[in-house]
Symmetry: C2
Subunit: 224 residues, 2 copies
């Protein structure tokens, strides 16, 4: 790969001091496609920032457009206001828990998971065209295709919404898969070991009580 | 409630500047039982701390014993080492996404969720008895009853494990439920509105490839 830096750049994010883990380094990945896939499967990220010297971690919706992540909120929100100046240092994390890993030893209990951690400085988006794109991405992230099938934000709503952008540059994924990794001496212990998969799916859509009569369930929901 | 401060303290956490949200304050709750229920239903929390002035948010397992949360990790882990000194300011957040909320307007799209945010200073646990209790809680948090049905940590494993504690003092929950809250003027728009519930469940347990023959699936797993 080192002979072809262009290809290498396309396929992976460059590791940095912050994205090389001190533990379980074998679980870390900088693969761009894997990172995108993990991000696109989530609904809520955990956004961390520093307020008065202390960490704050809040769950929030996000959207992705290529190598850009977008988060939105009220223009009155303190962190989003901060991002309007010199930018807001953030850490944005998305995690999927895929299974419970039961080992013979308490020590080796774990979960199977896939996570992405993004470090960077978030900036407020002011360009009207990019703001529209970002807000569409936020809605389409919840349900692909939905932005085009809803009323776009009007001037008043746009004025009340702050959008911040975080570029995907300093990024890593971490993935644990497979069964329990017990010590050889423990393999004969009389405890069950294995994985309990966690299943996720969609329930039957519940129409709003005030839904006008005659509006069918959209195809993009019926397909689920 | 103000006439009976003792009862009030038992039922709710006292709000602070950090736990009163600037937005959607009607979704905030300080109810102790609700906080416990949200925490107990999760598998992974997002732990935020500050490193070199920048926020870091990492997914990690946790356990609860009464009003104490425990997180563990390698003794080599940087944040956990920091917690061994004067303590590590952290923000620990647990979120469940329960449904996708589709409104007629892009602006009112949302998710139904339940989250808990805990602020505080985490301290390393050095008392051997409390460390054992914490490690049992971490395993039992993954599968209740499992700590007693596995090999406890030996001296070497205990020496390699750092445990930190975060007391539940500065805590809030936030909950969104129900359908889309569109503006009255939008109710007649020809877009479907409602909630797509997200379902979570357990798949069939997968025994480890190296599981000794004759070890049955434990009752606490079969019951799922």
């Amino acid at each position: 790969m080192q002979d072809r830096p262009e290809e290498a750049q396309a396929a992976v994010y460059a590791p940095t001091d912050r994205t090389v883990p001190t533990r379980s380094a074998d679980r870390a990945s900088y693969d761009r496609e894997l990172v995108h896939a993990i991000l696109d499967e989530g609904y809520v990220c955990h956004l961390g920032f520093v307020r008065d010297g202390a960490p704050v971690v809040l769950p929030t919706l996000y959207g992705r457009v290529g190598e850009r992540l977008y988060v939105h909120g009220s223009t009155g929100s303190r962190p989003l206001r901060t991002a309007g100046g010199s930018g807001l240092p953030v850490c944005l994390t998305v995690t999927h828990v895929d299974g419970l890993v039961l080992a013979r030893s308490a020590f080796h209990h774990s979960v199977n998971y896939r996570s992405v951690v993004v470090h960077g400085v978030a900036h407020q988006v002011t360009d009207p065209e990019e703001r529209r794109l970002a807000l569409d991405a936020l809605v389409d992230h919840v349900v692909p295709g939905r932005a085009a099938d809803s009323r776009p934000a009007d001037r008043k709503e746009l004025a009340a919404t702050a959008v911040i952008r975080l570029d995907l540059e300093e990024v890593s994924a971490k993935v644990r898969t497979g069964g329990a990794n017990d010590d050889p001496a423990d393999l004969s212990l009389p405890y069950w070991a294995g994985v309990v998969p966690l299943r996720k799916g969609y329930g039957t859509p519940v129409p709003n009580a005030d839904l006008a009569p005659g509006i069918p369930l959209p195809d993009y929901l019926a397909a689920r």
